[in-house]
Amino acid sequence: MIKWFRIRSIVVKEIIQIKRDIPSLAIIFIMPVFMLLLFGYAVTTDVDHITTVVWDQDKSPQSREIIQAFEQSGYFDIRYYAGDMKEITWLIDGGEAKAGFIIPPGYARDVLKGQSAGLQAIIDGSDPLIARTALSTAQMIGQVKGFALKLESLSRFGLGIKAEPGIDLRARVWYNPDMESVRFNVPGLIGLIMQNITVMLTAFALVKERERGTMEQLIITPIKPFELIIGKLIPYVGIGFMDVIVTLLIGSLWFEVPVNGSVLLLLALSLVFLLVALGLGLFISTVAKTQLQAMQMTFMIILPSVLLSGFMFPREAMPLPVQAFGAVIPLTYFLEILRGIILKGIGLQELWRNVLWLAILGVGILTLSAVRFKKKLD
């Protein structure tokens, strides 16, 4: 028979202990803000303002025009003007510049003649993200500029036509029209923060009890393992929930990523995910003997869930076995749910598969951990 008064005693004790534990408080209150700022500002995959060096051998109005076109795109910051190839090599080698443009002598002449004018771009490919952006932008500018020049020369030869492109592609980006990473990151962060905090604190709370020998005393009291688990988990459900709300508020007020769907549904499903995270923490506590081990194991869970859940990198791009591994990470499904509700404003009708998987994983993990935990006590 479960006795509520025993559960209540554990909850009260746990809350007093959390209040007095500075590191726990730091994790609870500072970690969400810290991670939001980190992923909101520092970890952005938006590349612009690439430092650029130019070697203009032509020094003509035409060459200045093309340099200006690069600068005005917003992607290239022309910081350096080189006088020879050596200088460009030196700047790119040293990391001072990530891209370089070389305008050959005779560029203006070719342009004016209506001939194909050569232009060389050198891109530092060590960071593929920057390189890809630099390359595609440079190509685009080159094409657009080339097309304009063609038209100009054609009209000069009296062949003025009203040029229309063969295909008129009108792209419209939904949900995140400006394609800002912060809009993509913030919803995911809610899940990640919740997972990290709950897993870590739950694992700590139980391991601490064993490490300090207080578990030994508890076993001899009439308390049942189930009551102990429930009592230990209740405060962390509260904390996890509080962190969800804090993250949501900062996300919508500061980073301007509002919840487009139902907030209520979001909170309800957060509760489901919270139980999964608590299960993971409980599981760690049945394996780890010390708080240090618990910490290490927490990171063993956090790292794959950051990398494989689709938090940072699209799962579609991963090899199948890796995708399969990501499919057993609960965060994977919760991310879909978070992004679905926050960005797309969709509901259960579209998300039920993710909810179902999350629930299945949650029940599985929680049951396994509870059974293991009970065995450990007996």
Binding site: K3, G213, T214, Q217, I220, T221
Partner: protein, 262 residues
Amino acid sequence: MVMEHAIEVQGLTKTFGDFTAVDNLSFRIKPGEIFGFLGPNGSGKSTTIRMLCGILSPSGGQGKVLGYDLKDSEKIKQNIGYMSQKFSLYEDLTVEENIDFYAGIYGLRGKEVRERKEELIQLALLTGKEKALAGTLSGGWKQRLALACALVHRPHLLFLDEPTAGVDPVSRRVFWELLYRVAAQGVTILVTTHYMDEAEKCDVVGFIYQGKLMGFGTPGELMGAMGLTNLEDVFIKVVEEDYQDEAWQELLKSHRKEVTGE
């Protein structure tokens, strides 16, 4: 509570694989007695206590604690108190909060908690430290707080596993004064210790070595049977020589007969 014996075990045995931790233990303790359970480290004391508390099931034999069968661990747990060698209270909780916590776990409520807490703080000489964090207390105070917590639900039987290990002599004496006071209230006490001066203060003493009960009786009986004047020598002799003396064996046999009827 009417019962003939607070603890009564017959042929109590615990094996872990090939290893026999507790081997055919039989003894009886009367209510209100202080039983000193002696033996070197690893001799099976803690295993025996764990079985008597109902958290470890015996591999063989049977027993009753406070009239409840060892299998009835629910009932046993509600009526016993336990204090271990390590200070296993919450260091980040105050004296009061520790007592409150255990009071809650054992189901004491409201007024009951306040009254019992006051009583225990007086009994365990903790007055003035109610709001102090348990972690800031010195060894002797910690032990007394642990005792207070173990007594919060008015248990009829108290298990103390090396309660005074690493505590200074004055604090040890104070602690034993407390134990006498508790025993005088009719609480049976099972205490393990390596201090023979403490063992001599017990009503009955049992020696356990390699899982076997090597001797049982009042301190006087045991010293008499060996012709020694202190328990320390008795202890050393038992452990070093697997004592085979006739008078000693007679004492053991008569005790065994009394318990098992064989």
